[in-house]
Amino acid sequence: MYLALQRYSRPSTVHECLELLHAQGGRAALLSGGTDLNAREHEALTHVIDLQALPLAEVRASADSLRLGARVTLARLRREPALARPELAALREAAGAYAVVALQNRATLGGRIMVDRGTEDLPTALVALGAELELARRVDGQIVTEREPYPVGQRARAALEGALVCAVVLPLGTGRSALRRFGRTAVDQPLASVAAASRAGAIHLAANVQGPGAADLRTLPRSEALASAWLAGRPADWRAQARVALLGELAACEDPWASGDYRRDLSATLGVRALAAVFGEPEIV
């Protein structure tokens, strides 16, 4: 496909990168894995700033947190020993569910976060896992790096505008997590994607559901509260209760591939299954 690109840059520092981005205004774009580079909306780009030389591909684990550089690929997430813990299962599952091997080799954590339009599994998992983002911005000519909670809801995309995702920081402890997603074939964007995680005595839930104007990465606080109470013990009908709670706060986003009510119903099913996985219960009865 035709690209109007006239300039390719490969900066080696975050500072240089953001300066370039600033200088080019809206006509430049950051290029990480490039898995969406050939999308039609990019035909008008005149300048890409390739992030491959930035020192952002580091994985660093401490006692209570895991810092994943934004340039870590999804392929690496799947096989990274630091992720081989039950509490990070959702993240591994999300990485493995993305497209196909060749694209997992290219796609990066930061890139998938930036291009999410409610169609990705990775943000679902990250939000449930309590991820924070390290974002670099150019403010008054200075480069400022801040750590912020993963943005959710309708304004999520705006919150990342103009920023460079440098790293994702995940809290570590004990617990379990699971991502359940559903596509029409084994290689498909999810019709719905729900993640559940147990952490610090509570359950965390996130859902990503797509739809025109309703791209929607959200947390599910009422269901979380209900499910957290079940960590110690669950009523016999917990699945039915959870389903009702989930249906109550999931969005009904419609697109050409699924109606809103089916998608909400599906998300509730996936939510119950993700919870079951976290509780160590059978997912399908």
């Binding site: 690109l5 390719y8 490039g34 050939n38 080799n105 290219r106």
Partner: protein, 157 residues
């Protein structure tokens, strides 16, 4: 712009436009085993190895490949000495129209390089990015598994 990279073991310096994708640059230099099937990363016909990993060359700017090593199907074998995977695809009648074949061979090579004795599921996963309307995948999977079966444990080809 001039980009320097290694293609099929040879150092090259190519003149490329900033918007030129690696697929185009390779084809322009006569490496026609790299096909254009969708130009959105969804068909695998343009797969090449970039530093040993399978990538869709339609989503890699030629400029991005500067300083890296690219291997195409031409780099794996030729009539005199086809790669075992190329031979296996031939032997198993795993080739019908053949348009997807070089991409599948590249994908399988990348897999076997890191996992010489993969499970059938791993083989299916490695070919999942290579939609093939002709074969129904049965024989390509058999071909890759046949090569894997000849791999002594742990030895990469």
């Amino acid at each position: 712009m001039k980009i320097e990279l290694k293609v099929n073991g040879k150092d090259v310096a190519w003149d490329c436009a900033p918007h030129e994708f690696l697929t185009e640059a390779l084809r322009r230099h006569g490496l026609l085993g790299t096909k254009r099937g969708c130009e959105s990363g969804d068909c695998g016909a343009c797969s090449v190895l970039l530093d040993g990993e399978e990538v869709p060359s339609c989503l890699v700017l030629a400029a991005q490949a500067a300083g890296h090593e690219v291997t195409t199907s031409e780099g794996l074998g030729d009539f005199a000495a086809p790669h075992p995977l190329q031979q296996a695809f031939v032997d198993h009648t795993a080739i019908q129209c053949g348009f997807c074949t070089p991409g599948m061979v590249i994908a399988a090579k990348a897999l076997l390089d890191v996992e010489p004795r993969p499970s059938e599921h791993a083989v299916r996963e490695c070919l999942a990015g290579h939609p093939c309307r002709c074969t129904g995948y049965v024989k390509p999977i058999q071909a890759v598994l046949a090569v894997a079966a000849t791999n002594a444990g742990g030895e990469a080809r």
